[in-house]
């Protein structure tokens, strides 16, 4: 009988204002502070606050036997500091129970690893520092943005001293093997890879409220039964925190479900474990050989959610191209503004995919279309370029 490892992602991006051509060169603040604060508050009321309270209670009533992990991006921590300190406090209280493990990620929830190792390391370090400052915790397990993963990323995580890394259990890489074991990437010696159990995670994340699903309604007992009968060492349930109350609304019964799940699992004698406990408990005897980057996004489970069309490719390439010059300017505010534009959501909104995935992209987009997302982003980028040019010229003038 496997253990069960639960991890939720907590993240909010900094949405841009409709940055039109006429602002270029004069409007140096790109973000829509009002909208960002509003959405944070909405999600906090619908999800973060009630879910935190729910899990506080589960930890207390199970006398510590319920355990879980969160990964909280740097951008959402900043938003909470700025707009809703009470929500941040609620996360701090939850983490202070000692039963909630925090994971490391890129501060800006970015795709930096695909473009610059240096920038990637900078962002991971920054995130570690932020967690230290806010939660007094230093994570041992890393999870990359949207579970983007391949052999090289695993190797990079090991180089940076992590003991474990999270990844999507992609069927065509698993090739018939179960995701419920720890795996090892080729060319790493210590680092263990935890694979998301796609079926069970998506039962909770996507199918939960689908009345056409043959297993609807899903009860905590039913899920506990499935876990009990699953093969392997550990079932990894990885999903967005917003699944509770935001993606699955309150009236679907999602809160009642999560209230009962901790006990339903314990009643079957299944143990709740966190990612670092998994790493300590189990051996990684199997190899998971993943060459191409995979992720947990869209049906493709690849990078196409962010880099699938030419607009996305150009935008992401151009923002990263500024790295050297931005860092050389040694202006923390400028660097921060630039890095926030690396947040993966900006590119996600530029997707022109159709079908179910396309409507998910559109659902999360603050803009009218993928084209608007691209235009506003590129205009803001043009402004950033102009600021860099001015700095360059001022420096040249000072030197000359």
């Amino acid at each position: 009988m496997p253990d069960v490892c639960l991890y939720f992602q907590v993240h909010q991006p900094n949405r841009l204002i409709p940055y039109d051509f006429f602002r270029i060169g004069e409007h140096a603040f790109y973000e829509d502070d009002g909208v960002n604060g509003e959405i944070l508050s909405k999600v906090a009321e619908k999800c973060y606050l009630p879910a935190n309270a729910l899990f506080q209670k589960a930890i207390r009533e199970s006398r510590g036997r319920f355990r879980m992990a969160l990964s909280i991006s740097g951008t959402v921590i900043e938003q909470m500091e700025h707009h809703r300190p009470d929500v941040l406090k609620s996360f701090q209280d939850l983490v202070a129970t000692g039963n909630v493990e925090l994971l490391a990620e890129t501060y800006y929830h970015s795709l930096a690893i695909l473009h610059s190792k240096k920038e990637f390391e900078r962002q991971v370090e920054r995130h570690l520092d932020k967690l230290e400052e806010v939660f007094h915790i230093r994570p041992r397990v890393f999870r990359n943005t949207e579970l983007i993963y391949n052999n090289a990323i695993a190797a990079q995580a090991e180089t940076m001293g992590f003991d474990g890394i999270l990844a999507e259990g992609v069927p065509w890489v698993l090739n018939g093997q179960s995701p419920n074991y720890l795996y090892r990437a080729p060319q790493v010696s210590q680092l263990k890879t935890l694979l998301r159990n796609v079926d069970l995670s998506d039962d909770l994340g996507f199918r939960f409220s689908d009345k056409t699903w043959s297993e609807w309604p899903l009860t905590p007992e039913k899920l506990a039964g499935w876990i009990k009968n699953a093969p392997g060492d550990v079932v990894n349930l990885f999903m967005d925190y917003e699944t509770i109350g935001e993606h699955q609304w309150k009236d679907t019964g999602i809160f009642e479900f999560w209230e009962k799940l901790p006990d339903a699992v314990l009643d079957e004698d299944i143990k709740w474990v966190t990612p670092s406990e998994v790493v300590d408990l189990f051996r990684a005897s199997k190899e998971y050989d993943c060459h191409w980057p995979t992720s947990w996004a869209d049906a493709e489970r690849d990078l196409s959610a962010w880099m699938g069309n030419v607009m996305q490719q150009e935008a992401i390439a151009k923002i990263h191209k500024l790295e050297e010059e931005v860092l050389a300017a040694k202006d923390p505010d400028l660097t921060h503004a630039w890095a926030k534009m690396q947040t993966s959501d900006h590119f996600y909104w530029m997707s022109t995919k159709g079908g179910t995935d396309g409507s998910v992209h559109q659902y999360f987009s603050p803009y009218g279309s993928a084209y608007d997302a691209y235009i506003y982003f590129m205009n803001a980028l043009a402004d950033l370029q102009i600021r860099l040019k001015r700095i360059r010229e001022a420096k040249a003038a000072a030197a000359g």
Partner: protein
Amino acid sequence: MNRLRVLKLGWEFPPLINGGLGIACLGLSQALAKHVDLRVIVPRAAPDSGFEGFQLTGLNNLRVEDLQTVEGRYRYESFAQIDRVPIHLDPYDSDETTVERVRMEPGGEIRFSQTTRNQLEQFKMGELYGADLSTKVIEFSKIAAKLALQTDFDIVHAHDWMTFLAGVEVKKATGKPLVLHVHASQYDRAGVDARGWIYDLEKYGMEQADIVIPVSRYTGQICSGHYGIDPAKIRPVHNGAEPVKVFSTKKKFPEKLVLFLGRLTAQKGPEFFLEIASKVLEQNKNVRFVMAGTGERLKPLIESGAFRGLGGYFHFTGFLNKEKVNELLSMTDIYCMPSVSEPFGLSALEAAQFGIPAVISKQSGVAEVLKGALKADFWDVELMAKHIIDLLTDDELRERVIKQAEQDMAASTWDAAAETVVEIYRELVP
């Protein structure tokens, strides 16, 4: 000489306008009114739009009783040859439209019918261009012919294809000479292969007309070459340009600005502008390109720009109102109009008023007016790019182009246009 009496047929008229046609009709009407007695009939006029010097009638403001005196006096000859067809054409639509190909069907005479309240009602609501455009064109012709029978005039002057049928009907009903004004043809909108109901109507109208006035020699060549109209009755008259209040705004960025302004449709050549921008940026990064406007090509253009890696230097503004357009003009350094076929191209003149040198396609009417503008064939992106780079780097050239444009502008008035038009009238009614 007696003062001439002119009956003018138009389709759109300020303030109810979709594009440049209404603005040109107003400009010419105001100037003509100084020389002739003028009555203008349009499908729809704003109820309180009083214009000085001429009488404006919108069918939307007409009552059935107004036509009582002429009911029964005329049979519609032209309709005997044209079958009513469903057609959807909106020249200013932002989505792709298809023009249905139709046949003219010879048939029996259509008997006179009494104008009904319903016929007049249709001009009060809906779009001027839309799903029922063909019906509107035909109903407009019938009613215009009746109104003409009530009016004393010497000459009828119709503007663009929507009113050509009406012009012919008026000529047949009254025996007065017909002048057709071609602001744009189906060739400009749909390209070389343009055929169909609209093409047929344009050709039929121009054949029946006594004189055809294209807005440029370039458009005159299309009338004779593409429509087979006798060059002897073609008299090009250039549009005028209303003086605009010009001002200049300091750019908020250090780079120069090259502007494309217009509907993003294949005939305006936005793809060529993208290619030109790409060529210029290869050599000179000290410049930004702005594509202002919207249309069915917008999305493919954005993707094409991204593919070429122009983002950050090539900006799309979407639709802009007049105020924003002027703000943009006030900071523009070079105006670029690579139209595939542009009957006139008023926007280049407006840009010239702002002191902006122009790089324009030879396939445009305004190329005949702006003698100093730098020109190239629309497809010759190499030369267009060279012109832009020259203007960016050679201040003397830039000054020369601007100076020449100032002189050309001075001659481009509606008064000058109206005087030529009156001379043309006098050929028909000495």
